[in-house]
Symmetry: C2
């Protein structure tokens, strides 16, 4: 059956970063689309307008995807696709469906034999990993550490075990207001000889990427800005 495709549209990580960092192929695809699956309509509209100032955004249709509204629009999406219209999926920051909602939509697309086409853009996980100097041949992305102190400690110890045993770099993400606490918990609970990389506010002008031994981090004063951060533990 000839039908529309779903394009995966990575958005910018830092809202302030230049359009120059977005490739023309992605811009052309966004210009051509009228249907979007989005995590937040307001920021999606702003991003699309940034790429195509001439777009009549009021003619575009937005399907909202979030924790509360995951599946009740599958039939609408399917209808759009069977009418041979393409749909773009975009999240608040970086890659949709990576540390973000949206994967259930694409699982559904595969079940219906709908073509999924990923476009090129920034992934804070990959930017942080490649710049960290830590092992990129084997790694795990854990997401957010638990808020509960006991579980958090257990998770850090388990992660550390994987680093020591398999040389598998462990990657965590954190929300800005918990950055300092996470940094302190990691240096408190990890072996002095392991490395910790802090990658903060990637792709912005005030991006920070620093890798040091835990023992070294312990000796200095380091205050993380309240900006989105990635933490990596490696050998």
């Amino acid at each position: 059956m000839n039908q529309g495709s779903i394009y995966i549209i990575p958005s910018q990580i830092s809202k302030k970063s230049s359009v120059n960092m977005i490739n023309n192929h992605l811009i052309e695809i966004v210009k051509s689309l009228e249907f979007f699956i989005v995590e937040n309509i307001r920021t999606a509209r702003r991003f699309i307008k940034k790429l195509d100032n001439n777009k009549n955004i009021d003619k575009a249709t937005f399907f909202l995807i979030n924790k509360h509204n995951r599946f009740n629009f599958q039939s609408e999406i399917l209808k759009t696709l069977t009418e041979k219209k393409n749909i773009g999926i975009l999240s608040e920051s970086g890659y949709p469906c990576v540390a973000d909602p949206g994967s259930m939509i694409l699982k559904f697309a595969h079940e219906k034999n709908i073509k999924v086409i990923p476009l090129i853009g920034p992934s804070s996980i990959i930017l942080a990993l490649s710049s960290s100097g830590l092992n990129g041949q084997k790694f795990s992305f854990f997401g957010y550490l638990s808020i509960d102190i006991v579980n958090r400690k257990k998770e850090i110890h388990l992660a550390q075990k994987k680093v020591i045993k398999n040389d598998e770099t462990q990657i965590f993400i954190e929300t800005p207001f918990r950055n300092q606490k996470t940094f302190e918990d990691l240096i408190k609970n990890c072996d002095e000889h392991l490395h910790l990389c802090c990658a903060v506010n990637l792709t912005s002008n005030d991006e920070i990427i620093q890798t040091k031994k835990i023992g070294h981090w312990k000796k200095i004063i380091f205050k993380l800005p309240k900006q989105p951060a990635i933490f990596l533990i490696g050998k």
Copy 2:
């Protein structure tokens, strides 16, 4: 100390893909650089010329990094950087230091307080993961499965356990000539209810991304082309 920086330059995954898929910021940085750390000089030169046809490539300096030649040029790199020259690092395909050599160079950079600046480009791991429809909130990149049959089976079973227990998507990479064997071993050794995504020749015109239940894969005939592939197992 005021010194040069190291730029991480992701290259194209498919050599045939359009320059349109590369952002202008990356192109401008490459134009400005005279020093490169590369995995393969011939392909690096070809990629740089593709981005900047006017570049006098014979004036550029290439530091070769591979299995045989990892550390003996650290002093040259350091000399270049202390002379306030920037250096670009690029690998054969996609992100340097992710499923690729190079991370030791960046670990060394962090030790010397050299700034590392990642640029935006394609990562086949992230392109495959985001399009797979499988869980992107928790995942592991394993690299290549063992060639030895017994170890390979053990690795697949261990990966499967992580999917079932933690809903952690497991990602493997494969060289073209072993694609079919890997595909067959995965469907033979995994539970029928799990999903397998095959992502082949990403960003090219003949890109394949298909996710199906193992039970479904078993019932159909699927011949993978001899092109670079990523395999993902998820719930």
